[in-house]
Symmetry: C2
Subunit: 366 residues, 2 copies
Amino acid sequence: MKRLETTPKKDGYRMPGEFEHHNGCYMIWPERPDNWRLGAKPAQEVFTKVANTIGKYEPMTVIVSKAQFDNARHHLDDNVRVVEMANDDSWVRDCGATFVVKDEGEVRGVDWTFNAWGGLVDGLYFPWDSDDKIARKMCELERVDSYRTDDFILEGGSIHVDGEGTCMVTAECLLSEGRNSHMSKEEIEDKLKEYLNVEKVLWIPRGIYNDETNGHVDNMCNFVKPGEVLLAWTDDENDPQYERSKEAYDYLESETDAKGRKLVIHKMYTPAPILITKEESEGVDAVDGTLPREEGDRLAASYVNFYTGNGFIALPVFNDPNDEKAIKLLEEVFPGRKIEPIYAREILLGGGNIHCITQQLPSGKK
Amino acid sequence: MKRLETTPKKDGYRMPGEFEHHNGCYMIWPERPDNWRLGAKPAQEVFTKVANTIGKYEPMTVIVSKAQFDNARHHLDDNVRVVEMANDDSWVRDCGATFVVKDEGEVRGVDWTFNAWGGLVDGLYFPWDSDDKIARKMCELERVDSYRTDDFILEGGSIHVDGEGTCMVTAECLLSEGRNSHMSKEEIEDKLKEYLNVEKVLWIPRGIYNDETNGHVDNMCNFVKPGEVLLAWTDDENDPQYERSKEAYDYLESETDAKGRKLVIHKMYTPAPILITKEESEGVDAVDGTLPREEGDRLAASYVNFYTGNGFIALPVFNDPNDEKAIKLLEEVFPGRKIEPIYAREILLGGGNIHCITQQLPSGKK
């Protein structure tokens, strides 16, 4: 498949909202024992649940290393497609292709340069060369041409779009030193405008407290539809999350989207702080150069990190009283979709959640 | 995708003739330096020509290891899909899926056990575990269910079918000690009947002289259409090929196919003997356990090892006077197809030819 020298904007392609129609979804099977405890077996169980759940609604593909192929094939439902692909870890939202569409249903991929959330500055593991090739290989699988941003580093989890010209990011992430510190904020914004085909970028200051991705927006705020967002929230002013949510709220309230609309903001209450236990910490291999998982560290738990698919929402839950609140809120704001709650502590322990481990393949149909 | 416990025959699936309509074609990128001279670079050039040629007529997919992904992607045409898959060598005809169809266009795969043409008895390399997984992975890619023959070893190059109930094999290969020596000829025939859905098996005694596959039929004899075959031939009674071709001719002349038809047999003259040169031999890594490529060894050259695709034939040629004869014969017997001759010495040096390195994905349309 072709590498294109133009941009999606120039060619009339746009990134659709995640809530638009999909032709499928991708995940990557987790395995690295220096990130996932107990040889990734507990994580694999939850990833299996997520993949099998999504597979009920959309054609599901799970990417897996040669070593884990048979094991993944054994666990996943028959209708889930399993394909071999070398990888460094399982965050397809971040290393995978961002698919863009034309209204008539044509699909292409954006293959952002990936450097493991900060490269040699504050990246989470080394090397990341296999991850950086995932996007192109996904485009090959789907027989779609791709745009490569050789001079621009981005992860799919650091952007959200409404499909109508608006993109949301966090300044904490997009202006971090480990990504594009050679570029100005305006230059970064121009890249987003060209490759996502948007006219307006909303710069939320920061993401979730202690989020190792430098505050990805997909853990903090998500579009329900154009003009309407869900924002991670706590009323506890002693929680360091409070000031982050408050400043995001104030910022979003003061802004308009690409169409000049004021945003409807729904507060989505976070679970009570979740800390890594001693047992959990001890199950992870200690490897120099990989972010350690230490007892007592607070995890970046948020209900906002859900996946929006055809007719459903795959929602991480935590055995927390706010689980029910999150489910009810989603039932209200997504009236046409079934809410599928999945107990996701094991994904969270690896550094993200359901949105981070999924990547939609849009169809171009609204 | 599912593993099925039944058989194609029981489920109403059959292997179509290669001349029936395809939805695509698979190849595997060559790379092992103990089989392909000069780090496989000359072979890669010819494989590229084959893939790009087929890609003009059918959706082409080239399987490639992680290590060679970028290089293969660089050489192959944009419309050729490149997918990562671990492999031991590049003979997708033999290790890949044999696809079977139902008349209404449904497709499934047969995943024969593969043991590198003879396992520990007289196999060509060790290990072969990656190759043995290729068929299932192809079925995953295509989202089709598969049948696995755990107790039966077969390569796709050791069978040819007419799509109307007849299969051709060589006794030399199918009764070889390194494959199914625990089974009787009748038991082997029953397997072919069940998994290809045929009623009659034609047992040609032997294949091409000095063919390291124990005489695969696909180098010796091929169907043009039901009731009509091409047979590798020489008039030189001093050539050890002569008695092999003669006994095959006599056998086929004495037989009828599944529909009771006498076969029309076209003689396809082989090129003059082709021997490995000193330079060619020296370019191959010497590795214990892999078949050596020695100076002066005669190669199993045959024009019969062509690929029949949608509207074309990809034909190996050898800069031999008989090249023209082969082209003319194919033009006569395949009036609707363009003949695409490809100089194929570099494939032959690796132990096979164009048919051995390709595998069709039939559509189920006649």
